[in-house]
Assembly symmetry: C2
Homo-oligomer: 340 residues x 2
């Protein structure tokens, strides 16, 4: 698809549908997934009873389970296995958010106070580990041995992503390669695994499983690049956080990396200097946005996300046409336009 056609497609999805529509073909599966997650949190441990309820109340978008289920359904997946595996993926995603919040010290997530705000970092850390290991045990008990290596490697890759996130903090010399290394481990790995698991459960051939794995990776990359772009262009009330908030948290993302590369002199020095800042004045935010715009950095990021989305869309051609494939195409568009 040409970029302008893709933009039009993305816009049409934005206008005509939202996540609810994308999830319609797997709605009952996602409802059962929520029940499975409730069961995962059933415990006699008092401390976790409250915490589990809190987490389950803050229902996530369930984007990764949706991708898994849609792919699985284009094939010959056992429905219960697919719902179960999707729950495991969502549990791991939840555990990661908890650990991320601890690392970032975020106070709000999905519109609710984060666990580390409600309790403390220690409880949040332990809870994250509890969920990780619980998800693993459930997977093993379910006797889905083909999925165990996928999940094990993914959780390990995600810890590597967390390490990279710390290493890369407030580094003005970060390259685009460094950036993609981080988001591949931290974000794309789980999206990729969700797609891979869907393909494995769907009974796909080895080549098709690999193709879907790359699809998920590209989808995850497109998703994260878009997220990082929105940090600089989004409306505060819509995104629930201030413009440039990634930057003040020390995260050097693609728009900033591109701007530092594409500018020189005073502008370049200005952007570099912001990397080490914990706060930005309104004036500084406005100047930063101006530079990101003039240097073509925002456009570059948009094009990068759309290129990734286009490549991902192409890979869906191996799937039979129909309800599920259409929903997956919309999911790709959603990834590069979504407003939280």
């Amino acid at each position: 698809m040409s970029l302008s056609n893709l933009e039009a497609f993305v816009r049409s999805v934005q206008e005509d549908s939202d996540l609810t529509e994308i999830q319609a073909p797997v709605r009952s599966d996602l409802d059962d997934l929520q029940l499975t997650m409730v069961r995962f949190f059933e415990t006699s441990l008092k401390l976790l009873q409250g915490v589990g309820g809190h987490l389950l109340a803050a229902r996530g978008k369930k984007f990764r389970p949706t991708v898994l289920l849609l792919i699985a359904k284009t094939g010959s997946a056992d429905r219960d296995d697919a719902v179960f595996a999707a729950s495991v993926v969502e549990m791991i995603h939840t555990a990661t958010l908890i650990h991320d919040d601890t690392i970032d010290s975020s106070a709000i997530r999905r519109g609710m106070p984060t666990l580390n705000e409600m309790f403390n970092d220690t409880v949040a850390t332990i809870l994250g580990d509890y969920i990780y290991t619980k998800a693993f045990c459930e997977l093993i008990d379910r006797d889905l041995p083909r999925l165990v290596p996928v999940v094990a490697k993914t959780t390990h890759r995600m810890t590597i992503g967390e390490v990279l996130g710390i290493q890369q903090k407030r580094d003005p010399d970060l390259t685009e390669e460094d950036y993609f290394e981080l988001i591949d481990e931290k974000t794309a790995s789980l999206m990729s695994s969700a797609a891979r698991i869907g393909a494995i459960l769907g009974g796909f051939s080895d080549d098709e499983v690999e193709e879907m794995t790359v699809f998920g990776e590209e989808l995850g990359r497109a998703y994260q690049v878009t997220d990082d772009l929105f940090d600089f262009v989004g409306d505060e009330s819509e995104l629930g956080k201030g413009v440039g908030s990634d930057l003040t948290e020390g995260k050097v993302t693609l728009p900033v990396i591109h701007a530092i590369r594409a500018t020189s002199g005073e502008s370049c020095e200005f952007v570099r200097s912001l990397v080490d800042r914990r706060e930005l004045s309104t004036e500084e935010r406005l100047r930063l946005k101006e530079i990101l715009d003039e240097s073509g950095s925002l456009e570059y990021c948009r094009k990068t996300a759309l290129d990734l989305a286009d490549s991902a869309l192409g890979r869906l051609s191996i799937l039979p046409e129909g309800l599920y494939r259409t929903a997956l195409e919309k999911a790709v568009a959603y990834a590069v336009h979504r407003i939280h």
Copy 2:
């Protein structure tokens, strides 16, 4: 074995041997285990290179790997598999210590600064997770599928132990049952798994595998009860921490639980009041020791540890007599007499 005979046996081990002697039959295996662990820490991640070196420099006692290897060697274990599995167990133990240090905010462990003192809690948390997930991936890559459920369940049990540790903090109404629930999950689970894995790799029958699992559980319980007892009787220079330091950290252990149960009036109230204290004066420490002594609490804990050790020793009778079984018997004695 009668208790007085057991005490004599424990004393003879204390006098005639130490961990070096217990480990002699698996010395070369433990050397290879250290090399395997060095390989586990080989990474291009700069942040972890320093951390891995720090952890490897602070060599632990490797008590769990020793138990695993000794049991495996009484059977028909593949030597490389046994060394490898023992490394995984030690890696998991290391990850747990790191998370524990974060939770306890300990500044010193094994005579070296803890990671959270050197870096911060976030890095320590991530590193712990990195090691857990890495150990798991290594296990899966090695294609030892029989061990995967054992390790998965153990790591989950250990996170439950951490949850219980937080729930039980500074609770003067804790029962002996609560205490054993905690140490079973937190300590005995990994010792039990080490023994179980040794038996599985040794080609033991199902019944024998179960017997060795219970052996490890009792050994782990005896080990922890002894550790908790030493907190009240040990010499500060030998233990590397002050008498009653568990108590000031909020850990209500068996000696205190027994003392609260066995005393009444002012003594009971005094001990209960200490559970909520962050510091103890020398006078308070002396009074506490006096109460623990007069109430028979120290003796009760000693007897509890020895009973567990005795039961564990009995289970070793299913093993063929010889070098390895003798070393295991000494390991049991070591668990209930060891001075760090």
